[in-house]
Symmetry: D2
Subunit: 343 residues, 4 copies
């Protein structure tokens, strides 16, 4: 049993991590911390976890966390970087579900996250935890930077095309739609039911923090320069990301469908749909799967890839557990095979 | 043209009042006040009002408001009572859409609203603005207390039964369901899309401020004592109230359907459905109508009345305009005959 | 491993049964039948079950089903009664999730279901599968009539009050709200997104088939006559039932909260909330729990009980599996402890 | 008063047309036809039209329709072409809200609509009713082909860029999201609340009938060849279309914002948002407005235009009335200035 700690368990990604871990057969929950809710039973805040009435939020005490083998950070950006060095020194392995260690270049990180990085020395050794891309490095990683939700859907969607090689200056356009849970649990007007319900809108069209993250990873996969356009939207549902990806310059002789099938044939959680089938977010709601389809509509210049995930599972807590499983030598899918909830 | 002022135009009821008044042929908008948004075009905050780009929020200045013939308060509870006396002295007629003047008994009001009333002397002369109940008094009223959304749906629903007379200690149970816009525009966790969406819950079961308001009015209609149980619920839609009303002790010889039809035959905005038909909130979304059905299921002891309104229209801004029309001698339905939005 | 068959696996309750059984450690799925989808992989129709790509729908062949130890019927009303006698003769134990065996009186059944019963001789021996009421009989039952979704929420909600005894002619009013999945997967206009979304309505107010079912069971619990009013509503969410229950005549000296706590203290799947707490459907979405609160608002005549379940789990497939666990001597909660999905 | 007939008034676009026309001051409704609902009051099917209890569906009788000055077809594709020649001969002017006259090339039309065209001779003289593109021709048109909902949002969105000229082989990618009402009122599984709710999906990615329509019109605006990719999606709301448009090859020296502002400066129903502002579908719900923003994110190669409309208003019935106003010399915005419904 891996002794696990969670820092910041009160947000939606923390709650989802708990949902997965309470039924994970290889994990023992050592500490779930929350400064604001310390002393309160977890099932009081999240009654869906009623079967684990014993769990109680505790203060985020480094001494307690150091006794864990693995600590997950489900806290806001800029939290983990202040605690991770001390935990790592104590031998704890860390999965940060926030953005502190996702960007390799410290200046870029500081520009986008508008703060000084507390431990830039860790950025290079942190492994970007997109499992299907970096599985081998994750095995031995001490610190995993769990990807953002949009980057997970987008990078998985274009990965096979980039690995096959794109011409210089190819365009990658990621039109991404997220459920409202992606906006977190902090109250704000645009996330109110009366505003987000029966509404569809784009946001941060000119600058979203997932843009440099996606760009960095795409650039890492291919040696040619990639032009990335990324447009995030909010759609009136709670969970799910749907990314519609438009890629120009793809070799017309490439068999798209079989390229995708081969790339992901051995993957546990990536399903390439049969030709003609199209993915829906509801099919992965509550599950760790990414479902993909690829096509060249109207035999045109543009290849269209559709990629769906649950933003809270494969886009956050599920992938974090998938990475933990790998880090500790467990079966990668342990605790993650619950079927999604449909309808 | 009636010169109109609105105090507190930034909430949902204020926005709805504006939506109705900008196309009302008998009204000239003199001032729309908002302390927080002063100087900002109304259509910037509420782009659905784009056809009226000239409207700009102004500071709530008594001098300006005194030039109006009619001032609506769409502000939080406890706001109007501090401004109304001065406005009334200047000859302005007032419709308060909040609760400051709904309860006749000052001690009861202060108990439920947890503050000292600033002008208790006005409580007796204020007219409770349920149009179908108090039309004649509204004509000459200087101050109208516009009813709460739940009270409107509930009282209209049981009015004919109470007017026919109920035995002592009859039970009236009001099981009421509201769309989330009833919770207002202030951000709070339970009103977030991720919390209120795909969720149904009750709230304030043991104490809701509309209980004394409904109780007072029911008691005013009938001379016997009424036992009122009122359970408010939140349903995952933006607009609408559905009240399911259970009344015991109704005379079995009463022809329910014709009693209701006769009572509301001359009403512009209350429709009694044909026997067997049932109302739906969507049929009144965006309109000022109340739709009712009455039945005695399984020929049992309990009469069941179903009553639907749009909480922001007949339950707030629409009824307020209906009252203004009456106060100023206009056709009661002027500016209020827009069809609801379906689907 | 119990060898299990499912008849009619293509509707929502069948899909939900599959979702639960594919991760149930004590069950081996022998046959999932569907006349319309025979030959098609289950994961093709329900991609949320992607981890079980081996499952394929087969024709509903009695020979194959007879090899099962337990057969679930997730088929429309009137299906099971034609197949159950033959299966039972072959020693198969049956859980019918439809209504064929819920009503003891054949004339009543035929009146409400508008058809002749094919095996009225089985009605008396069929056990009504409300686990918390009939656990001991379920252990040895050959045929379990799994309760309807509304009856489950309603009966659990008033059970402790009825067991304590009510005066003659006490009123039980069940105001129940269901998610749209309760209407099934057959296409019909009122269940369209554009009709049911942003809408709240009642239906079958004067006659719903769950009325005689609830009435029969309430009458079985208490020796006094119960007056039941039952109003079903449709609320714009996919899953969940919220029952608001109004009971008159409850002994004022009864400690409501402790009565409920004691009654359900040993139950796995019924949670009585702390005083002041109120249940929400979202807290049980995807889980087998029923959550209850009980109160006497305004210290009035009426006791109000709030009861929530997921209509597809505790209201259908989950309770069916709970019953199967009991019938076959397994731990009652085996395979049923997955946390609900929140948010 | 223009004497108006409506053929096929029972679908959502017919109902919306009625909603607009019943409060249009320049129109007299002569006949609303429906084969299936003949004899039924319109307000019985669409209770939101309760203020017009006099309207009754009649059989689609050509004799009656010939007495109209203007006939709208809100019927399925392939209906109007069988009735239009006879009506036009009788001097009736026609607005077809279906697709019968949108495509100029008969072979293309027959390929996409899978039937033989009944009156190909009318295709050339029919005017494509995108008001902002063809206003002058609409004035004198005898037959207007009202645009599809997606084409309206897409073409308005890229119109100024195409009019400025694009290089040969520029890419136009239209990622479009529609509310579920676009799927119509005929019951089908994917449009059920339980399927479309809490779900996001694409459909007809490889072939959608609006592709040739958009392509034809874009090609008509610019002399260079346009590569069009069009991906329609379904988003869980009732009304609204959000089109995210990606255009390559736009001249970098072009001032995007002022180009758009100038192009639409005199338009009644197209609003170009201020720089930095982004449109939301909810802002146009129930109104005839199109709201647009244009930007070049990250100073990249791709210009991104966001375009929102209500699919049933500017995307169907509203634009149809706008065209009728022009055809009959009325103020273009007559009867169309109702504010949208927010929230």
């Amino acid at each position: 049993m891996i002794s696990v700690g969670i820092v910041g368990g009160t947000g939606y990604t923390g709650a989802e991590l708990l949902r997965i871990l309470v039924s994970h057969p290889g994990v023992s929950l050592h500490a779930v911390t929350s400064r604001s809710e310390a002393g309160r039973p977890v099932a009081d805040l999240y009654p869906n976890l009623a079967s684990r009435e014993d769990l109680v939020f505790v203060e985020p005490d480094p001494a307690g966390l150091k006794q864990c083998e693995c600590v997950f950070f489900a806290a806001p950006n800029g939290t983990a970087m202040h605690m991770v060095p001390e935990l790592m020194e104590a031998g704890v392995r860390v999965v940060d579900m926030a953005a502190d260690f996702r960007i390799k270049d410290v200046a870029t990180w500081e520009y986008w996250y508008k703060q000084t990085h507390a431990c830039p020395g860790l950025l290079q050794s942190a492994v970007y935890g997109l499992t299907e891309l970096n599985r081998e490095q994750i095995r031995t990683a001490r610190l995993v930077a769990n990807p953002g939700c949009y980057p997970t859907a987008v990078i998985l969607g274009v990965l096979p095309l980039l690995e096959q090689g794109l011409p210089e200056h190819a365009q990658v356009i990621a039109d991404a739609k997220s459920g409202v849970s992606g906006a977190g649990r902090s109250p704000n007007v645009p996330a109110l039911f009366s505003e987000a319900g029966e509404n569809f809108r784009a946001y941060n069209v000119s600058a979203h923090r997932h843009w440099p993250e996606i760009k960095q990873e795409l650039q890492g996969i291919t040696s040619t320069s990639v032009n990335l356009t990324f447009t995030p939207h909010l759609t009136p549902m709670v969970r799910g990301i749907f990314a519609t990806l438009y890629v120009s310059g793809v070799d017309r002789t490439l068999d798209l469908h079989s390229t995708y099938q081969q790339r992901f044939a051995r993957e546990n959680f990536v399903e390439v749909l049969g030709e003609g089938a199209l993915p829906e977010t509801k099919h992965v709601r509550g599950s760790n799967y990414c479902r993909l389809s690829v096509q060249r509509p109207y035999d045109g210049e543009i290849v269209v890839v559709l990629s769906v995930i649950d933003n809270l599972v494969k886009g956050a807590a599920g992938q974090a557990v998938q990475n933990m499983n790998i880090m500790f030598g467990l079966d990668e899918s342990l605790g993650l095979l619950q079927s999604g909830l449909f309808p």
